[in-house]
Structures are given as structure tokens and as C-alpha cells.
């Protein structure tokens, strides 16, 4: 667990005010304790991402939560997709074959709908 002080030190160029603002906006969600905020490594990585979006890529404050939300949604999808793929992989090859053929059929169908 990383303290607020340590987090600021590791994030070059982010003041305590700015950090607390980002937390308030919900862009990053550290754990609140009696001794202040506790950041995990993932929170630090997310803060660094926010900093780079803001400073290096000139993404403005309105757009940053949109970008973060989209990135998180993508990660959610990637995870579930991987899970599903692994589940299929664990099946007997006959079932795998049936699933792959059903995928092809489903793709062809949706193309026809266009």
C-alpha cells in the first residue's frame, strides 16, 4: 500500500491538490483509511495514465473520464472474452468444432442483416 505522500513523489509533476481533485472526481479510487488515502500499484499506474493523458496528450478534463470509462469497458470485455475462449478450449474437440461452426454461421447471419 502506498501513501498519498509517496504517490505524489512517484508521480512527477502532480501536486497534492491536483491528486486530491482527481480522487474527488472519481477518476481513481484509492482506499480511504484513518491515516489518509492508500494507493495500490494499479492506482499509481492509473494516475500515471491520467497524468499522461492530461499533460502529454492534451486530453482535457471533460474528456478524461470518458476515456477512462472506455478503457475500463474494454478491459472488462477482454477479460470475459478470454474467459469464454479458455472455456471453449477446455472442451472436447468435437464441441470445439461445433462452436466454431456455429460462430461462422452467426457471423454470416449478421452480415445478411445489413
Amino acid at each position: 500500500m502506498i501513501s498519498e505522500k509517496e504517490a505524489i513523489r512517484r508521480l512527477k509533476g502532480v501536486s497534492q491538490t491536483r491528486l486530491r481533485l482527481w480522487v474527488k472526481r472519481g477518476w481513481v479510487t484509492p482506499t480511504e483509511t484513518d491515516a489518509g488515502f492508500h494507493f495500490r500499484e494499479i492506482d499509481l499506474a492509473r494516475l500515471e495514465l491520467i497524468r499522461q493523458l492530461n499533460t502529454d496528450m492534451s486530453v482535457n478534463n471533460e474528456a478524461i473520464p470518458i476515456v477512462l470509462s472506455l478503457i475500463d469497458q474494454i478491459h472488462g470485455l477482454r477479460y470475459e472474452l478470454k474467459t469464454l475462449a479458455r472455456a471453449v478450449e477446455a472442451q472436447h474437440e468435437d464441441i470445439q468444432g461445433a462452436i466454431l461452426r456455429a460462430c461462422d454461421a452467426a457471423r454470416t447471419l449478421s452480415e445478411d442483416d445489413r
Binding site: 512527477k12 472519481g26 500499484e41 499506474a45 492509473r46 469497458q73 472488462g76 477479460y79 470475459e80
Partner: protein, 313 residues
Amino acid sequence: MSNNPYDLLGVKSTATDKEIKAAYRKLAKELHPDLNPGDAKAEERFKAISGAYAILGDKDQRARFDRSEIDETGKEKPEQQYYRNYAGAGPETHYYTSDAFGDFGDESDLFSELFRRARSEESARGRGFKGPIRGQDVHYQLKVDFLDAARGAKKRITMPDGSALDVSVPAGIRDGQSIRLKGKGAPGFNNGPNGDAYVKIEISPHRLYRREGRDILIDLPISLDEAVLGAKISVPTIHGKVNMAIPAGASSGQTLRLKDKGIAAGKSGTDGDQLVRIKVVLPKKIDPELKEFMEKWRGENAYSVRQELEGAL
């Protein structure tokens, strides 16, 4: 005890090289083990400030440390770990969201089952002070009698708090199947959607009907005369009474089919039939007249029925 070299030397991170050198010298004089023979911890503490000065006393090292390229021991810090390296862990992380496929559960009950695990894990953890949280799913068990399950029925589950849940039991539902009621689970938080209710169906057996696939099976007892002469018999089905013609010479075990009198197929497939299995029942008491006739009849009309058994044993 802080590992930060600035803290160890007791100087601000903005201190000049001169200030740092002075701070080190002062501490070295105080903490050098040889100048403190009675202090067992002296070595440890001296090592700490020496290490700190090794970084901060050297212009290059200090610069690299300030840029976070090296840590307080002079080791190279690993390159930045990008967010994606952490986010791939899925629901373990508190930023995981199933929002991108929250509607997949609407496609079918299988989709709902596949993806509800993801959604319930996410809502169970909560998202700190972020936005809406989906409510928990709730599970119920409903006992349904055979006929209601076969024909479909509207059922009502009453909660302990007095509120009720209306469940439409589809015709042909099987024992152990679950019905999903969208949005009838626990309420969400922060304007999040309600969870779903899952109602597991337990079907009580019927004293007459049995089910096999979409067909209904029933045993039909007929009397000796009905078997010999044939008859028109009123037979119960799940759809009401049906008049059935029993052919003359019907034997026990024979199965007659009443088409489309089984479980309706709904949108897909064909309706089931009712299969009626004949059971010939002799009179409880054989009267002397019948007995006498039989003995006479046997003399000329005996017929074999146990051919199959011959040869066995």
C-alpha cells in the same frame, strides 16, 4: 523508518548540494560506530545515512533519483508499468466493469447465466464512491404441481414482507429449470439497476400421469370384456377427457397413441402425444359361469403366449 534518503539526512528535497554535504557530515560525526562504542545500533544507522549520501552526494545519482530512475539504494527502477498490465487481471481489480456487456443477459437465459457471474462479482465488491451499482440477484424455489408445469400457469410467490412476485410458469417446464425474472432481484445503489430473480422449479409427481420428453404416459386399465370385444373409453389427458377406441383383442402392455395430447411445443418443435398403455384387469372374483365357460373354451382354443421364454433356463 523512511527509506527516503532526504528524510534520512534530515534535509528538504530542495536542499543544495552544500546543505546535503553539511547534513551528512553532522550526522556522521554523531553516528559513527567508532565514536559510539557503546551503541549496538550505531552500525545500522550509520549504514543508512551512508547509503543516503552515496545517492544524494553524487550529482548524477541525485538527479537520477529525483527523476525516479533509481531507488534509494541506487538500483534502477523498472520501466513504468502501464495501466493495462494491471487492468488485465479482471474482477480482482476494483476498476473492473461489466458495463460494456451489461445487456448481454437479455439475449437468452444462457447468456444471462454466463455473464451474471461477472456482474454479481463486480457489484458485490462495490465500486467505492463511483457510480451506479447493480443490485444482487435473488434465488427462490417454487413447487409446482404436474399439471401446472405441463400446461403452464401463473403463480404467485409471497415474500415474508407481504410483497408478491408473479411468475409465469411456461408450459412444458422441466423439473429443476430456473425462470429468470429481470429486475426482480435486490434494488441497485446510486440509481443502479435491480438484480434479477431466479425461480427454480420443483415439479411434484402426478398420481396418474408421467412425463417422457414432451409425451405424457398413462396406464389405462380395461376389463376383460373390453379387451376381448373392444370398447370406446373416455380417457383423461392433461387437456381434458378424450374418447378413445380400444380395438378388439387389445392386450396388456400395448400402447396406443393420442396425438397432440401431450405437452405443447410452443414456438419450436412438435407437440407431444399422450401414450396410453393398456392394462387388462380381470374381475376380482371369477364367477362359476365364467370358469365353466373358460374350461370348455380352452379345450378348443388354447393359444401359446410364452414362446419367447422357451429356451431360457
